[in-house]
């Protein structure tokens, strides 16, 4: 069996991950000792801007800029040690076994290539495939992400697509080589509210259908709690707490509570939303 989750090993194992960015003015510690693991499940990572969620996701694919200093006791995908893997191994991992959906298709798709050719490129990067074959496969993928007119979208340039449509193309592209893990980095933050839920249910459907693991990075707590199995709450480069998504409302940590407290509610009247009070103790490294 090649599926590591069936051997009782998690798909992703991260232990004590540190990421630092040195600059002229000093070293920025973006991630400070993060540990978690992902099996065949949906893990949500929430936290405010700058809490290190995206950096953590990209460290898994080794997509950080060359200047980043990454160290960890363990950073593994399946049996691959990501810190020690060769660039060649990483390339087959990227796209092939781990997909990454970025926030805004306006920027994350290449403006001078058609949607179809960008999908075909992802296919051909990981499988021997002729041009025709890749084109047909791309059309199929577009259909599977529920695009009504796959032929038109296939030949369209990103600027000719709406945000929701662009994000479907992005998802199709990342699903193309059938990855085992999909990292979705704020996949709906740039979209209209009505499109957000469509994209989320599309991701959910695909993840379930393909039996993939999902790492959903978001700052939207209610969304993550509805959507994921487990939630890790990050703050200042550390995981504050990790809990089953369904129990998010029962969170005990001061930071998570603070975030939940300041959400407005449609059903009960709240005069003035409290602001989050930051406790310096949260910054202390913990085991």
């Amino acid at each position: 069996m090649s599926d590591p989750s069936l051997r009782g090993e998690p798909l992703v194992a991260v232990r004590n991950l540190h990421v630092a960015f040195p600059s002229a003015t000093g070293v920025t510690q973006a991630v400070r000792g993060v540990s978690f693991s992902i099996g065949r499940e949906k893990l949500g990572i929430v936290g405010e801007s700058g809490s290190g969620k995206s950096v953590t996701g990209r460290a898994l694919m080794r997509l950080l800029p060359a200047s980043a200093q990454v160290r960890a006791d363990a950073l593994r995908f399946g049996t691959t040690d990501i810190l020690a893997a060769s660039e060649r191994e990483m390339r087959s991992l990227r796209g092939g076994r781990i997909g990454l959906v970025l926030q805004d298709p306006k920027y994350s798709l290449n403006p001078v290539m058609t949607a179809g050719s960008q999908i075909a490129e992802a296919l051909r990067a990981h499988a021997r495939m002729g041009k025709r074959e890749a084109r047909d496969a791309a059309l199929n993928l577009l259909e599977s992400v529920k695009i009504r007119d796959p032929r038109r979208v296939h030949d369209a340039y990103p600027h000719e697509l709406s945000g929701g449509m662009g994000q479907r193309v992005m998802i199709a592209m990342m699903l193309a080589p059938n990855p085992e893990l999909l990292i979705a980095d704020e996949p709906t933050s740039a979209l209209d509210a009505s499109v957000q839920s469509e994209i989320l249910s599309l991701i959910e459907e695909q993840v379930d259908q393909r039996g993939m693991a999902l790492m959903l990075i978001s700052h939207d707590l209610p969304l993550v709690s509805r959507f994921c199995d487990r939630v890790a709450v990050m703050y200042a480069g550390q995981v504050m707490e990790e809990l089953p998504a369904a129990d998010l409302h029962k969170a005990t940590h001061g930071y998570t509570r603070g975030l939940l407290e300041c959400l407005p509610s449609l059903t009960e009247k709240r005069d003035r939303l409290p602001t989050l009070r930051r406790d310096p103790a949260w910054l202390a490294p913990h085991a």
């Binding site: 390339r91 990227r94 990454l100 920027y107 290449n110 403006p111 001078v112 290539m113 592209m173 080589p177």
Partner: protein
Amino acid sequence: MKARLGALAATAASIPITLLGLAVVTFFIGRVVPIDPVLAVVGDRAPADVVERARIELGLDQPLLVQFWRYLTDILTGNLGRSVMTSNTVWEDIARFFPATFELATFAILVAAILGIGLGVLAATRQGSWADQAVRVFCLAGHSLPVFVLGLISLLVFYAWLGWLPGPGRQGIVYQDMVEPITGLLTLDAALANDWPAFWDAVLHLIQPAGILAFFSLAYIARMTRAFMLAELRSEYVTTARAKGLSSTRIVWRHAFRNTLVPLVTVIFLTYAGLLEGAVLTETIFAWPGLGQYLTVSLLNADMNAVLGATLVVGLIYVVLNLLADLLYRLMDPRTR
């Protein structure tokens, strides 16, 4: 497709307007400069009635608007007047001098574009490395060294000391007038005539002036390429491309460079236009009988017909190349269609 044609038509329609503006400018330059066209024709010792007759013949007694109209119909029929200095029509002169500039500029821009893009991409993909630093110093030199210094050093080293390359001029004296002029481009004419010794002679003569012009242009092109590439390499779609597991060659050329090429085309075309107007200093140092030299000598001799005619041609080149750059831009960037 329809919108594309419309945009094309709009661009094409702007050309006559630009050219009309150009004609207005050259016409008024001709009136404003303190050179009396009558005296230029009859000389300053001519009797008063000869001067008067020449004045009427030149149409200078007419109102300004009529003069402009005549000027306009003249240039539209290709009549740019006669050069006082060479006593040829200006058109003939330009047809003789322009190919030399065209040959020089084309060789220079080809070298500059290929090397400039290569160096710019190299520097951008290895930002901060010694290769990047070397390219930047090289470009700085290209921006700051005066052409006459470099030209003279080059002549001193490669012609006088080493003797590897021929001296100033377009061809060796033995090949002078040996090849039938068809295009006016010595390399092409020699190749067409199957005269390979003459071809090599012309190429060797091109190396120094074209190389020096290329150096200055490539410094600019490489700097722009580097800057554009750095911006593209930082963009999100490059992260996407890397996340797809593409090779770095593919990411650099197929993704980042393909986007860089769009603004770069304008840079290259305008640099080319600048070269085509004739590089006066380079042409002077290398005794290159090109448009820049023609324009300068005419100006120094107060030969206004020649100056205005050549200016008009230079303007026309700019307009045409700008149009070409525009068309290519539209072709390459789907967002402008």
